[in-house]
């Protein structure tokens, strides 16, 4: 971090497909971004959130933000305000609906009427009276749903919004949980997967921005090399000790 090396970051297909999908959306389309994480996952998911939101705003795509995580309610607001600064207008280009309790029930009820689930947005305005929400009733009016998740919410989105309402879904998640969502990518239940800081750095590269994820990738790569070396050394010493034992 102190001395940036600039190790190459290669974008993977699963990240690029999210980028391409947003890139191809016509201006004025709406996407739903559910920021289902808390401060513990900020390192990986916040840069991802900012990159996706900036990409959407640069394409004049309307963004509806929300969260299913109670401890992430204010983070979504901070992220949307930061990404929108000077690029998008609250109420016109984006809206942050905040948190409503209910988990899977919220996802299901949003398929009928979003304004009936989120009666007011995070700043207290009546949702149905917000200009952006006047033409958006439910999933039919949303081109893409992106779940940025620190937990198991992508599964709920796939089950209740994907299977029931045929909502197109993309997932951004922490690296720990990324392995669990590859089966959904294989079945095309999600169109793309952005995993951890590496995924966020790839997205930053795609939108040609150097954010905090890109800044951290040199350290990440060097830490990985150090761990690989330690694993090799530990294994060599283990086998050496095992060979030594019989004739001690």
């Amino acid at each position: 971090m102190l001395i940036p090396i600039g190790l190459p970051i290669k974008e993977t297909g699963e990240v690029k497909s999210v980028y391409d999908y947003i890139e191809k959306l016509p201006p004025g389309s709406a996407i739903l971004v559910s920021m289902d994480y808390d401060p513990a996952a900020l390192a990986e998911l916040y840069p991802m959130t900012i990159a996706i939101l900036r990409h959407a705003f640069s394409k004049d795509i309307k963004v509806i933000g929300m969260t299913l995580w109670i401890t992430g309610a204010s983070l979504g607001d901070i992220a949307m305000r930061e990404a929108a600064e000077g690029k998008a207008q609250m109420g016109e280009d984006y809206v942050y609906l905040g948190y409503v309790p209910g988990g899977a029930n919220v996802i299901m009820r949003m398929g009928e009427d979003i304004s009936a689930v989120f009666l007011k947005d995070y700043s207290g305005r009546i949702t149905s009276e917000i200009p952006l929400m006047k033409n958006i009733k439910n999933y039919k009016d949303i081109s893409l749903m992106i779940d940025l998740a620190a937990g198991a919410t992508p599964e709920a989105w796939v089950v209740y919004a994907g299977a029931k309402y045929n909502q197109t879904i993309a997932v951004g998640c922490t690296a720990v949980s990324a392995v669990g969502y590859y089966p959904f990518l294989n079945t095309k239940q999600i169109i793309g997967l952005i995993g951890g800081m590496k995924g966020a750095a790839e997205y930053e590269k795609l939108i040609k921005t150097r954010g905090t994820a890109t800044a951290g990738m040199d350290s990440q790569s060097i830490a990985h090399i150090a761990i690989i070396v330690l694993i090799i050394v530990a294994n060599i010493s283990y086998f050496a000790m095992r060979r030594k034992k019989p004739g001690e």
């Binding site: 009666l119 800081m197 951290g216 990440q220």
Partner: protein, 203 residues
Amino acid sequence: MGTYIGIWIAAGLTLCIYSFLYKDNPFFKFAEHLFVGVSAGYTIAITWNEAILKLIWEPMKTKNDFTVLIPAAIGLLMFSRFIPKYRWLIRWPLAFIIGVGAGASIPRVMQSLIFEQTAATLKPVAFNLASINTVIIAVGVICTLIYFFFSLEHKGPVGIVSKIGIIFLMVSFGAAFGYTIMARISLLIERVYFLLHDWLHII
């Protein structure tokens, strides 16, 4: 000014938590307990605002909609477990949650997590590169399932197949472990970045 105070508090608490790397100490315990307390308080405040005020109080106040009291009363029965005489009343809200939850989720979960995944595992194989993945997935699923099939002794051909299943499991655990390392390193990087950039302004 408020931002600077927040950064200093966050930096101090980060150092308190990392002091555990040396050994358990009162600074770590203070930060740990503060985190638990603040999280609980924050959760209660948001629940009060988003659920009690917005979903119960406001409909009654602005629309004279008192039907919201019915689900609120059912929800309150969850607390009946604290009164031994009326503990049995908790069965009603639980029955409601389990009934609605199971009814809504079983068909969708079957469709999304079982049928779709099974269909993707049994894709037809063609003579192209994409089919290599299909074959690997099918072999992996079958071998792993046989590894967890305990009605037959794992000897002979069954033993060989179950050993291949172990290899697939190990590869899966390795991938999960690799991703876990990446996640943990990311957390450390973010904290170090915060300390050096936001707090000390070195980078």
